[in-house]
Symmetry: C2
Subunit: 155 residues, 2 copies
DNA sequence: TTTTATTTGATTTTTATTCTCAATTAAAAG
DNA sequence: CTTTTAATTGAGAATAAAAATCAAATAAAA
């Protein structure tokens, strides 16, 4: 079952229509693995082939996609929400985010490693975990190298 | 060293003045462990004893506190930032958040348990971790009980 | 006490997101 | 393939959190 088929099915199950607008937004997010687009960015990409589609529709569509679990809404404290595919076909595909405090780049970590913690929480708090988001803030490898180099040059 | 002394020191080191407004906002956040207040909520609490303090000052102060690592900015996707003390005196005090999808309540988990994952990330990605945020979404114990009860009653 | 740069309150401005509503359209029914 | 119907859309207005502005106030250095 392809992502698109899952998408169609979820729309149907929730009683929503498959419109051109929804298909276009889906395609952009689905074909940009690893990107974390804002509504405005998606709007710009949509405009290229579909200048008739309005920004309000982008916002509405993303909200709908979030509701039927087609996308995840991410927050990197940069003044807007960002979105990425929910890779439903592959549970192990969930990932964490590394946010570089220097260059602002976002990296993805495919390994989950939260089983212990989740087990503890479910047992200790009786909290039934459905999902999680984990972000690490720090300095990426590239920026670390650059810092070293600058240090050397000033010595 | 008390939280307040650390607060004064950090203001000083960063070259900022200790004003009444800053002291009042600090006191409210510092004396409300476990709470996650929005700027508006802090504004309401500040008003009780200091109706002369304006909302813009609350926003400015929280931004400053975030910069000098007095507070953390939290995001629970409810339309505003929320803030809590950075418990600097005790590193092990960092905690994760449990967000109940039913009742919206926020719970805190004091256990970190991310050492393995952090070690893996530092080694595998060369990413130097300074901080992290981890949220779990699910159903809290209370809401789980309520669901069970409702199920029984309808049987 | 005087000086000076910082900070503040009040207000306006900005900007992401939502709302409104008439016109359009997907898809169910015939 | 039409007709019907309710959902959806585009354009623009409305909302609301947060930031910017600026003259007046004030902390802290001299
Ligand atoms: Zn991602
Ligand atoms: Zn970097
Ligand atoms: Zn907390
Ligand atoms: Zn609950």
């Amino acid at each position: 079952m392809t992502n698109f088929e899952v998408f169609k099915e979820r729309l149907n199950n929730a009683g929503f229509k498959l419109t051109t607008q929804r298909r276009v937004v889906f395609d952009i997010i689905n074909s940009n693995e690893g990107k974390h687009y804002s509504p405005e960015e998606i709007y710009e990409l949509v405009k290229v082939d579909h200048p008739e589609i309005g920004l309000a529709t982008i916002y509405r569509t993303l909200k709908l996609f979030e509701k039927i679990a087609i996308v995840y809404r991410l927050n990197f404290n940069d003044g807007c929400s960002r979105f990425e595919m929910n890779h439903f076909e592959d549970k192990s595909h969930r990932h964490h985010h590394l946010v570089c405090l220097d260059c602002g780049k976002i990296f993805e970590v495919k390994l989950d490693l939260l089983q212990d913690l989740e087990g503890y929480i479910e047992k200790e708090y009786g909290f039934e975990i459905h999902n999680h988001t984990l972000k690490f803030y720090g300095v990426c490898n590239e920026c670390k190298q650059r810092r070293k180099k600058c240090k050397k040059e000033t010595t």
